[in-house]
């Protein structure tokens, strides 16, 4: 291969400050990689190492190290991802409470940590202690009353605005790629697209720091999607340390798939769910080797997070619940209702959010990103503070909704009217009528539900790191809990109805509202993201209850069916289409009867195909061709008359090769002839030195005939990861089909705007 500027490995430390020299074999920004070439380069590398390993002991050891480097990378990714997730969790915990008050004994303690050793806590107020004071107590030494409430309200809003403003400023100044969820872009990157800087070190740092800030500011967003981005940044960072991965974009994407699994694993405390999420949602090609390595990375990450122990009780996620109350067949009906609600909400959210994001993209709203963040934060804080269910962080809300009401709970949601003579142990609680606290909680939850549904539409997609999992789960949990309490009270007041008589005898507690909350959360999350298996696995890893698989599956399947009836795309695919990324979805089916000749370029009436000939063009001709057109590559034919195909040459490699030749080789001038043949013919002595470029020629470009159905062509592009495909007839070159042409054609067939495919 033409070696353009080998990186001097023995240079001194300051070499990393110099500008990196572009290598032959690397790709430009916003281009697609050539999967087949990456695969063959990796096979070559492996074969070379294997053949050299027989030479000496040192070579053998090097081959062993090369084989283990994959596992070392996974280990490092797991460690760093787990550490960052622990840091994020602890910092969020502290900063969320900072909005309401501060711990006087040690300012770095959150509310719960501050009162951990205190003896002042009561049964009703589990977190009361003199060391932790609200702001009104601190500033004006008043803790009750209207002025204290107003002061606390005001300071809550101020802190939220301060965090949000700081976050959006950091994103804007240091790493603009750190905004958004990250999963649509990572899906595109894993399908072969190059976005330089998206997984860089500054993006990693800023995303971690600002994620804490925005979650603490009380905005209606989660941290799971951004954690996947953070984990992929870690993956990119560690894979650049080993040349096996840094020089091969295909192998690097295997590492990124595993890193995505580690990211979900630490976000939910669900290693298996993380691997399945990576397989189902994020990755494009997922060979079996990646499955085992992803699992390893996810386990290491979960173990690291557990040893940091952010929640003080060796649990990985704040809303880990573990109850084993049984559920009954008749309850499948409300579960399926919750599934329908989840599907409907998912459709509504996707449509409204995409409409709002499109408006942000095309109108003047998009010119004021900082102002938009501040306004949305202010609205969220102002409306969220009065309702106790929205004032606290969404994770705590979900935790409370998932929890079952035993005798030990004293929250408003568990304010049932107890029988004063009850002396039975904790687990055997009879069913009870709802007390006034429960009714208050119900209408507060209803208000909170409406608020969350509306505000999340405007929050997701702003120029700050924002995830979607937690708000969806919150919406579903609130709806589920309300349905659960409704069913529970229905069962209490109407024991003699047919549906209750069989399984709910009077005096027994048969309905667990917490389970309904979980099922609702799964349904809403499934309706938005259209996850299937990974959702169920994540939910039962979150809860630890294998007996609830059937309700979760019923709700997930129902919500997916209902949501798919309205639109095929999940939220991430919808955002990919909105942004115009060149992502060829493996889930789409192409069922139209068009042929390759309908899609190929040049069409009838267009300029003929720009080709290179194998031995009759000069360097100047080639340079002119490159300058006048912006194609990514040029087919090489035998001659202009007989257009028999020899191979395909990439634009970038032509440019680099010509530049190198002009600098290094003697005698190569503008009049030199470019030869793509094996042996250039003997030339008369005073003709300019020929330029041999056979090495950069791809001798096996993919070709189809012009009557190949587009169904097959799309399948070939998907399965092999091609960038372009040449069309021939009777051996003569007719035209070219690129991935962008395929995507445009698919958009046209689906009656979408074909001009929305923007990137190369």
């Amino acid at each position: 291969m033409v070696s353009a500027g080998d990186m001097n490995g023995s240079g001194n430390l300051m070499d990393f400050l110099d500008e990196p020299f572009p290598d032959v074999g690397t790709y430009e920004d916003f281009h697609t990689i050539d999967w087949l070439r990456e695969k063959s380069r990796d096979t070559d590398r492996h074969r070379k190492i294997t053949s050299k390993s027989k030479e000496s002991i040192w070579e053998f050891i090097k081959s062993l190290l090369d084989a283990w480097s994959g596992w070392v990378v996974m280990l490092l990714i797991g460690l760093l991802a787990g550490t960052l997730a622990g840091v994020i969790d602890l910092a969020v915990d502290w900063m969320t409470d900072l909005k309401e008050g501060v711990c006087l004994s040690a300012f770095w303690y959150s509310h719960e940590q501050c009162c951990w050793t205190s003896n002042e806590t009561t049964f009703d107020d589990r977190d009361k202690c003199p060391q932790w004071q609200k702001w009104s107590e601190l500033l004006v030494s008043q803790s009750e009353g209207a002025s204290a409430y107003i002061l606390n309200y005001f300071l809550y809003i101020m802190w939220a605005l301060c965090f949000a403003f700081l976050a959006v400023s950091l994103v804007r100044v240091f790493a603009p790629y750190a905004c958004g969820s990250g999963i649509p872009e990572i899906k595109t990157i894993l399908s072969g697209f190059i976005i330089r800087g998206y997984l860089g070190k500054w993006t990693l740092l800023i995303k971690t720091v600002t994620l804490v800030l925005v979650v603490s500011s009380g905005l209606s967003l989660g941290k799971e999607g951004p954690l996947v981005h953070v984990a992929c940044c870690c993956g990119n960072f560690f894979s650049s340390l080993f040349s096996k991965y840094s020089k091969n974009e295909g192998k690097r994407r295997e590492v990124l798939s595993a890193a995505a699994a580690a990211g979900v694993s630490v976000a939910f405390g669900a290693p298996i769910g993380g691997v399945l999420f990576s397989l189902e949602e994020v990755s494009y090609y997922f060979p079996l080797k990646t499955l085992w390595r992803s699992f390893f990375a996810a386990l290491v990450a979960a173990f690291t997070l557990r040893s940091i122990n952010p929640f003080g009780n060796s649990r990985l996620v704040l809303f880990y619940v573990e109850y084993h109350t049984p559920w009954y067949m008749a309850e499948l009906f409300p579960f399926i209702l919750l599934g329908v609600f989840g599907g409907l909400w998912g459709t509504l959210f996707i449509r409204c959010n995409i409409a709002w994001c499109r408006r942000r993209k095309t109108t003047r709203l998009g010119k004021y990103p900082v102002l938009e963040v501040i306004v949305i934060t202010a609205i969220t804080a102002i409306i969220a503070y009065p309702n106790p269910y929205t004032r606290r962080s969404t994770s705590e809300l979900i935790s409370e909704l998932f929890n079952d009401c035993g005798a030990l709970e004293s929250s408003q949601l568990c304010d049932y009217i107890n029988d004063p003579n009850m002396t039975r142990p904790v687990d055997d609680i009879p069913d009870r009528p709802a007390g006034p606290g429960v009714y208050t909680a119900m209408w507060q939850l209803a208000l909170a539900l409406v608020f969350k549904i509306v505000i999340t539409i405007f929050t997701f997609g702003m120029k700050i790191p924002s995830g979607l999992f937690i708000p969806s789960m919150a919406v579903g949990a609130m709806a589920g809990r309300m349905v659960g309490i409704g069913v529970e009270q229905l069962a209490y007041h109407h024991h003699d109805w047919i549906i209750f008589r069989n399984w709910c005898r009077p005096g027994a507690d048969c309905v667990t509202p917490g389970l309904y909350a979980m099922v609702g959360a799964a349904a809403c999350l499934g309706g938005v993201t259209r996850m299937t298996v990974s959702l169920v696995v994540i939910m039962f890893e979150l809860t630890g209850g294998l007996e609830y698989i059937v309700p979760l599956m019923a709700a997930a399947v129902t919500s997916k069916w209902v949501a798919d009836a309205f639109g095929k795309e999940g939220i991430y695919e919808a955002h990919i289409h909105l942004n115009g990324y060149p992502f060829l979805d493996v889930k789409d089916e192409f069922t139209h009867r068009t042929l390759a000749t309908d899609v190929m370029r040049p069409r009838r009436g267009e300029a003929p195909l720009s080709v290179l000939t194998q031995d009759s063009m000069t360097v100047e001709d080639v340079e002119t061709l490159i300058k006048e057109t912006d194609y990514n590559g040029f087919p090489v034919v035998v001659s202009k008359d007989s257009e028999r195909l020899i191979g395909f040459a990439q634009r970038r490699e032509l440019i680099l090769a010509i530049k190198n030749a002009r600098q290094r080789q003697d005698g190569v001038v503008s009049n030199s002839i470019v030869y793509f043949t094996e042996d250039p013919p003997e030339l008369p002595p005073n003709s300019p030195h020929p330029l041999k470029l056979r090495r950069i020629l791809n001798l096996s470009p993919f070709t189809v005939t012009d009557h190949t159905p587009m169904e097959t062509v799309v399948d070939i592009f998907r399965k092999l990861g091609l960038r372009q495909c040449l069309v021939t007839r009777s051996g003569r070159l007719l035209g070219i089909i690129t991935k962008k042409d395929v995507l445009r054609h698919m958009a046209q067939m689906a009656n979408q705007d074909p001009e929305s495919i923007m990137f190369n």
């Binding site: 190290l65 303690y109 049964f123 790493a175 958004g180 942004n579």
Partner: protein, 191 residues
Amino acid sequence: MFTQCTRKCASSMLLIVLLCCILSPLAQASKSSEDIRCKCICPPYRNISGHIYNKNVSQKDCNCLHVVEPMPVPGNDVEAYCLLCECKYEERSTTTIKVIIIIYLSVVGALLLYMAFLVLVDPLIRKPDAYTQPLHNEEENEDARSLAAAPTPSGARANTVLERVEGAQQRWKRQVQEQRKTVFDRHKMLS
């Protein structure tokens, strides 16, 4: 295979050293008395209101009899009362919390200072360079320029550390500016 990593090893070594600085005090932290507790929650019973008891005992002593003091019920009722109570052993690491929060605050503070420097001080220091090429037509002319441009004088590299740092910083700022244009101005990505 490892010879290529010298450039990147510098930045990666820094990160690994930082990680060790974080993790070693955490690993060496011994359990202080503040870090463990046994928490017993006892619901209301007859005419006694609910109460929470905290005590600093080890895991095998974490049960109702050891922790609930003074016992609010007479001797024959103790068993019934203790059946209602639920005791949990909890651990935490105060050193971890302190270290992580302080590191996080210092990182945020450093970023704030650097941001203030970049936004306020930097434009005043740098005199506008008359020879700096305008960047907006970069994309269209890049290929043509790379063909036609004179070979970059590879021998005349900036030799002093300060100039190299400056060059790296300039390159980084250009990259961020490109990113900002793509995301914020042209709305080509991440909308």
